[in-house]
């Protein structure tokens, strides 16, 4: 009986999903997409059209995405908050080779991440990808050297300032051009396919990259840093 019910439910769901099949066929883009494709380079001077859409035409959504990420990191920090009196358990220090290697690799990976989000308007990639790469460098350092501490005060300050600046850039568009996060007239658009081009797009993507990088880094630090749950602490006792 249960199985028959499940099968009927699956069939109903499949029937609803059948409506999605025509969406997979290549068709002419709609009016709005056609405008982005034909006018996007003219309006924003960004070589990477995807970035123009994400940061300019859909900039408000990106602000929302960054806010969602901030909320989830804040929630994780609240749930996994550091308890006073519990020292970080250092089971076994990593080997010298691992620690030195991680420290050597840290700077190149961070620079690569910065390259990705600074060149977001020219080449594939952007704030989210670059920020994730920066966070993976921090992760390498945290996992290799267990005694390492992130400068929390500075990172929270940087994250707040970056979020504030993002909203300020949006408000500048509202004041100058009449719509939030507008790219027209706020900054000179420059020449196509140059680093300093695209108006506010590279600035916003750099801000997004910094914000994503600091948020994911503090999330990883919180997760690595918190002590075990209480029952595990009682049963296993001693730290080395």
């Amino acid at each position: 009986m249960k199985q028959i019910f499940a099968i009927i439910l699956l069939l109903i769901m499949g029937w609803f999903l059948l409506g999605l099949v025509p969406l997979g066929q290549p068709t002419e883009p709609g009016v709005v997409a056609q405008h982005y494709i034909s006018q996007g380079v003219q309006e924003n001077r960004g070589a990477n059209l995807v970035t123009s859409v994400i940061v300019n035409y859909r900039g408000f959504d990106t602000l929302g995405e960054v806010t969602v990420l901030f909320l989830s990191v804040a929630g994780a920090g609240f749930v996994l908050r550091r308890r006073e009196g519990i020292e970080r358990r250092v089971n076994r220090p990593s080997s010298e080779i691992l620690q030195t290697g991680a420290r050597m690799l840290f700077a190149p990976i961070v620079i690569f991440g910065a390259y990705i989000f600074v060149h977001g308007h020219l080449s594939p990639g952007g704030g989210f990808q670059g920020g994730a790469v920066v966070a993976s460098a921090v992760m390498l350092l945290l996992l290799a050297d267990r005694g390492h501490h992130l400068p929390h005060g500075f990172m929270h300050w940087l994250e707040s300032m970056v979020g504030f600046t993002y909203v300020m850039v949006g408000l500048a568009g509202l004041v100058i051009a009449g719509s939030f996060l507008s790219n027209q007239g706020v900054l000179p658009l420059g020449t196509w396919n140059r680093l300093f081009s695209g108006g506010v797009i590279p600035i916003i993507y750099t801000l997004v990259g910094l914000k994503v990088g600091t948020e994911l880094s503090s999330l990883l630090d919180t997760m690595i840093d918190t002590g075990r749950p209480d029952h595990a602490d009682n049963s296993e006792g001693g730290t080395s």
Binding site: G125, Q129, A132, L216
Partner: protein
């Protein structure tokens, strides 16, 4: 090239199914990372390098590590 794509799709589906059924949670987390990596290759093949980069960096890299840390904080084996 199409044969390679089909092969990758096959491995992808197989990893996803095994990730759901395997008992060891560490293996499951690593298999989910493998799924993300293969999906990012498919995104690249379909001409979406931006999405592929996001999927590779966040799906295959960071979230796998976050899963592994969370598993280490709790228990290695699935209960019951």
């Amino acid at each position: 090239m199409i044969i390679l794509d089909l092969l990758i799709c096959l491995v992808l589906v197989a990893s996803a199914v095994v990730a759901m059924n395997v008992r060891n949670l560490v293996s499951a987390a690593v298999l989910v990372g493998v799924v993300s990596l293969l999906v990012s290759y498919l995104f690249l093949r379909m001409g979406a390098p931006d999405v592929a980069m996001t999927e590779a960096a966040i799906g295959a890299g960071l979230s796998t590590v976050i899963f592994l840390i969370a598993i280490r904080r709790t228990e290695e084996e699935e209960q019951g």
